[in-house]
């Protein structure tokens, strides 16, 4: 029976920092399976290439193999994993979704980002705290003078293994059967993973939980790198499960845990240490996580179709603020400044309808003329 400290430490070792080269700050990521697929938020993995910092201080360049900006999920793969002996099966099926996604998401600038959507739709009760602003904070690039990624880089680089989390655990939990060292315990609890968390060998990965069974009141553990504190843990309970106003019909897990910028992309786990969500945003002080079942769906089926636009709700409909030149909307000659008619929910439904072509009605300029375009979607949600 694993104790709380062991559950937390195992999760911590499956949680990575996701750093963008040349940018300040960073987010978190989850080592999802034994193939070394790392899951994070799309708003964390903004570029094609990122850098991964493991719990033990090792750094690896990684490529973004797929992004679903509508669900705010992205999958990463450590580039030279095979050479490092990290993933023996790096050439196996896990890469399929990546290849498919490479097609569907040619650029990284596209897409509907949650921050923009949330800002106008949830004005917030306590005036000063608006969801949009919090979300803006959760995007690592915004955290002005604080430079979490770099600070961490310094602290981890200098020690070269002298302050490893495993040892810290041993120190901080003297009552926890001191003779058993964390590494050994980990080897026991993950028999399928050929044990061990020693550098140079295979990565420890999380156990996904069934997010459909999550109930309000369950204990949860969140791990991430808030404000640059690597592997920081906070606990709480599931607050509620359901849709967020103005964010479409998709369901989110809201948790009463303390999160901060840098937690994005990190795991939200239940009392068994199974990951039930991916921490994504802070809305009215509550942590908001993508359910793990949605993440599993994303990994198995790839990203859902998207228009490649950044939208902002306006009185008439949805204003296109930015457009990805390589996206489906641009291919249908939509431009920034056009206003799509209809609600965000309607648009989400159309995109998820599994048809390759959707019809959009929009306004251009002040002529109040409605035009229609057929948007061909390169990616299709595959039939189940």
């Amino acid at each position: 029976m694993p104790g709380f400290g062991e559950i937390a430490e195992r999760l911590r070792r499956c949680t990575v920092q996701v750093l963008l080269p040349g940018e300040r700050g960073g987010g978190s990521g989850i080592i999802w399976n034994s193939d070394g697929v790392i899951l994070t938020n799309a708003h964390v993995a903004r570029g094609r290439r990122v850098e991964i910092l493991l719990w033990d201080g090792r750094r690896f360049p990684a490529v973004v193999t797929s992004r679903d900006p509508r669900r705010d999920l992205a999958a990463l793969r450590i580039e030279d994993a095979g050479a490092l002996g990290l993933m023996e099966r790096a050439d196996l099926a896990s890469l399929h979704s990546g290849e498919r996604l490479a097609q569907t998401e040619p650029g990284d600038s596209g897409s509907v980002r949650p921050g923009e959507r949330l800002a106008p739709t949830e004005p917030g009760d306590s005036g000063s705290v608006r969801p949009g602003e919090r979300l803006a904070q959760t995007e690592p690039g915004d955290s002005g003078s604080v430079r979490p990624g770099e600070r961490l880089a310094q602290t981890e680089r200098g020690d070269s293994g002298s302050v490893r989390p495993g040892e810290r655990l041993a120190q901080t939990e003297p009552g926890d059967s001191g003779s058993v060292r964390p590494g050994e315990r980990l080897a026991q609890t993950e028999p399928g993973d050929s044990g061990s968390v020693r550098p140079g060998e295979r990565l420890a990965h999380i156990q996904p939980g069934d997010s459909a069974g999550v109930r309000p009141g369950e204990l949860v553990i969140a791990i991430g790198n808030p404000l640059g504190f690597a592997g920081a843990l906070s606990t709480g309970v599931v607050h509620s499960i359901g849709a967020l106003p103005g964010m479409g019909r998709q369901s989110w897990i809201r948790a009463d845990v303390r999160l901060a910028p840098g937690n994005s992309g990190g795991p939200l786990a239940n009392a068994d240490g199974q990951v039930i969500g991916i921490n994504t945003a802070i809305v009215n002080g509550l942590g908001v996580a993508v359910p793990s079942n949605d993440a599993a769906l994303f990994l198995s089926r790839g990203a859902r179709p998207s228009l490649g636009v950044v939208l902002q709700p306006v009185s008439l409909g949805l204003l296109i603020r930015e457009i990805d030149p390589a996206g489906a909307a641009a291919a249908a000659s939509l431009r920034a400044g056009d206003v799509l008619l209809g609600s965000f929910d309607d648009l989400s439904d159309a995109l998820d309808s599994a048809s390759a072509v959707i019809r959009l009605r929009f306004l251009r300029g002040d002529r109040l003329r409605v035009r229609e375009v057929y948007v061909g979607l390169e990616a299709r949600a595959e039939a189940a």
Binding site: P216, G217, S240, I241, P245, R254, D256
Partner: protein
């Protein structure tokens, strides 16, 4: 992989499920709904400060349907409002078997129309005896909560890990923390509201300030007087020093409230004043505190 943590987690989720089946969302203010709980069959209690309109109040019942509710009455002093609904089939919440003590794990359970039941967890951070709120009411116990109350959860029920109700949560009675309005106080207010439609409070119509008297005695000097108020009608003057009310020595304004709580509106109470060095006794007919507008 059963562990103690998972067992606790399961217990908490069970408590939320059980208690949550009596918790409703209350739609009586703009933007954010609040929460309420079936306290008796057909009777919902919620936090008074979340009721911003007296008509067209609806509640989202535990089964997800919306139903109209009528405001039976409210008591701003204790921040309790009482709603009535036609749904008598709904079972009320079970009460906690034991009094809360500091350190007890507790859950605040609310409901919103969009995402159903919601919960936050924390501990009881302090419990003390009878406590007068800044709004003038009296709680039979002061139960301070160390948990986060989100806008939707004011008026929701505070339960222990067995799902038994300790009281209802309010964020407005204390600046530093959420407070649970104790079950006993809710019972008292609900009884009075259902019987009379409101909670009436005794009223003298005087503004008082504690003063030191010779020989280490204390009294309350009348600094202001409501014209045509109960005290003015009885002949009290500004500058009089009140020393006893209803045979109780009074040295603090809380003493006045305590005496008034023991006397019904309309009853006579004897007041002894010092005026110009002489002691004189007056009978004041207790009036009813005017409602806040």
């Amino acid at each position: 992989m059963a562990n103690e943590l998972a067992a606790l987690s399961n217990e908490l989720a069970q408590a939320v499920k059980q208690a949550g089946s009596t918790v409703v969302a209350v739609h009586a203010r703009p933007r954010f709904s609040s929460s309420g709980v079936f306290w008796r069959p057909g009777v919902i209690v919620t936090a008074e400060h979340t009721i911003r309109r007296e008509e067209e109040i609806t509640v989202t019942l535990p089964d997800g349907t919306n139903a109209p509710a009528t405001l039976a009455g409210s008591d701003p002093g204790t921040d309790v409002a009482v709603l009535k609904v036609e749904s008598s089939a709904q079972a009320p919440i079970a009460r906690a078997a034991a009094d809360p003590i500091p350190g007890n794990l507790i859950l605040a359970i609310g409901r919103s129309e969009d995402s159903g039941v919601n919960a936050t967890m924390g501990i009881v951070s302090a419990v003390s005896g009878s406590w007068r709120t800044w709004r003038g009411g009296r709680l039979d116990r002061y139960i301070r909560l160390d948990l986060t109350l989100y806008p939707n959860s004011s008026g929701g029920v505070v339960v222990n890990t067995e799902g038994g109700a300790i009281g209802i949560a309010t964020s407005t009675l204390s600046r530093i923390a959420g407070v649970a309005i104790p079950g006993f106080t809710i019972d008292r207010v609900v009884d009075e509201i259902l019987a009379r439609g409101r909670v009436s409070r005794g009223y003298l119509g005087v503004g008082l300030q504690p003063v030191e008297l010779p020989e280490h005695k204390k009294g309350l000097i009348v600094l202001s007087l409501e014209p045509e108020g109960p005290a003015a009608k009885a002949g009290v003057l500004i500058g009089d020093i009140l020393v006893t009310l209803g045979a109780t020595n009074v040295t603090d304004t809380d003493d006045i409230q305590a005496v008034l709580e023991g006397h019904a509106v309309g009853q006579k109470v004897e007041a002894v004043f010092l005026r110009g060095g002489d002691s004189r006794s007056l009978n004041i007919v207790i009036g009813e505190r005017p409602r806040r507008s």
